[in-house]
Symmetry: D3
Subunit: 128 residues, 6 copies
């Protein structure tokens, strides 16, 4: 076993913080793939790394949004983390600044895709 049973519990608790209800959906998807996946992947991402102290979750989400937008290879996850960023207190004004900063380091197309993701996140929040 790679960790204690509560490693997954802690991971899912952070994921629920990022988007209430996400743990059920994400876990169902991962369990349908292979029962070890949730504990391994979410455990690493959320319990081992993002749950660490040293940087608060709000600033971490700002960096995650910036990274995913700059990489440009995971638009669906960029949309999720746009919503998650807003859910943990990143303001829309800050999202705008992150997206503009992406254009400097990854170019205008990456920025345009991030605008699409941001607008969808803004609408999802508006619709409650």
């Amino acid at each position: 076993m790679t960790g204690s049973p509560d490693r997954l519990t802690r991971a899912l608790s952070i994921l629920d913080h990022l988007e209430p209800g996400a743990p059920e959906r994400v876990r169902a998807n991962l369990d349908a793939f292979h029962p070890d996946t949730a504990e391994l992947v979410l455990g690493y991402a959320f319990a081992d790394i993002l749950g660490r102290e040293g940087i608060d979750l709000r600033t971490r989400e700002m960096m995650t949004v910036a990274m995913l937008a700059a990489m440009g290879t995971a638009q669906g996850q960029l949309e999720f983390h746009m919503r998650a960023a807003l859910n943990v207190g990143v303001t829309r004004e800050e999202v705008v600044e992150i997206v503009l900063q992406v254009s400097v380091y990854a170019g205008v197309p990456a920025c345009m895709n991030a605008i699409t993701a941001a607008r969808e996140a803004f609408e999802a929040i508006d619709e409650g």
Copy 2:
């Protein structure tokens, strides 16, 4: 003309903030390439975007380091921004957290390259 003369001045002032002495070196490099480059590229990057309000320069550098590490295509600039991040108040503990977070979104090799850049930045600062 793409901007007022002080667009470049403002850009170089931010660059000097990131690393004292950098404006002379960077500008000499760009001017030797083409005289328009500094105003266009630094003007866009620093005066137009990074100098905007809404997110402080310290948090912006955290995101820049995260993006460059995740993209993995500009190790030299990652080293520069590791030093710049430290120069504008990002702590070494925060650099560690950023680098670990990179492993989640861009994989372990990206994280390892970021560790190399971070260690060089730590040493450069130690040596004054």
Copy 3:
């Protein structure tokens, strides 16, 4: 202010050249995100850089199509620039050559995605 008011005007004029009617659509999208975006991003991309002399717009579009296809991270924008390339005089035969050249530098999957984008652009032009 990062530029004179006509910086945006010049940018939109080039964008209209690339695809008649695009300025309204693109601008509406950017303005709905943040009112500064159009002037900053389109101003940089089109007024500052693509509107420069030294390389004609037709050759620039050939390079843009090649870059977007090779990067593989912005399929929607690749489709736009396929149409734009045809609109500014790149021939279908040249599009074929660009797409085949992409396979050498970025691999067969990048080439296949570019074929999809090219075929959609060909059809869009055929349908007028």
Copy 4:
């Protein structure tokens, strides 16, 4: 001419191995783009390279799936090669291991996109 007529024949035969029926569909798509494409691109990919001895097709598909998942720029082709891998004898258990290994070298979002592609391939096979 870049090769003998049977270069394309050999390429299509390997493609048919990867997914029965694929040669017709793929070739129709390529021919509608330009009549040289199938011979050039499929000829290179399948007859020149993948048809070589030294590594069996099953192991080659494991590497193709790993590469496409890690690059993250061709989700459609990742789905095709997930199915192809299963068609040439890669087991579902092995697909799970490949996908988890992707998370180490390319990060969790790349792994998540590979899970989506794998689940679609599993379902496509189940549905026969």
Copy 5:
């Protein structure tokens, strides 16, 4: 704590398999960065994922080499895994096939960089 003390021990044992002597060097590098890094990053990469059953280490190294070559963002690690692949039984003929296959999925420049890494690995092994 993210895992039991022997999680790191198991990770280092696999790393030693890949290249005798590597654990000391890698661990010294990671410990100089931050004492948690080895357990977190090596623990995830090697103990959690690569040490799993289902695919033998030899085939895993073939995929790792293919992924790193295709991504093109970690030449140093590509060189390491070229040597590691040879150390765990991948033949030079198989390395040649992997490198040629990279050209199909990631293009000729990626293939050329992989040739450089492979030749260095061949020489390192020859020199013992």
Copy 6:
């Protein structure tokens, strides 16, 4: 056999056009790796694709430089193609424009790395 013996001859002739003397150096490197590589990889890149009509070699090199700079994963080959572009008639002014255009589609760090490559190519040509 994947092609006639003169497939390689034609490929090397184009490569010699790009940089006099390159065929010997490149071929020695590829032959030391595996005797099939030159015919397969250079044959595909140069004889099959870049030697095609429809776009002249000068415009093809402009696109190759743009692609390699935008991808950011093959700095050595970017340097080669910067020199090759100049060798086949691309002007320094055009190189400047290509490099600036890269900043729009791939970001400022990609542009900065292209400036480094361009300056080295300019110096190599100056030194004759």
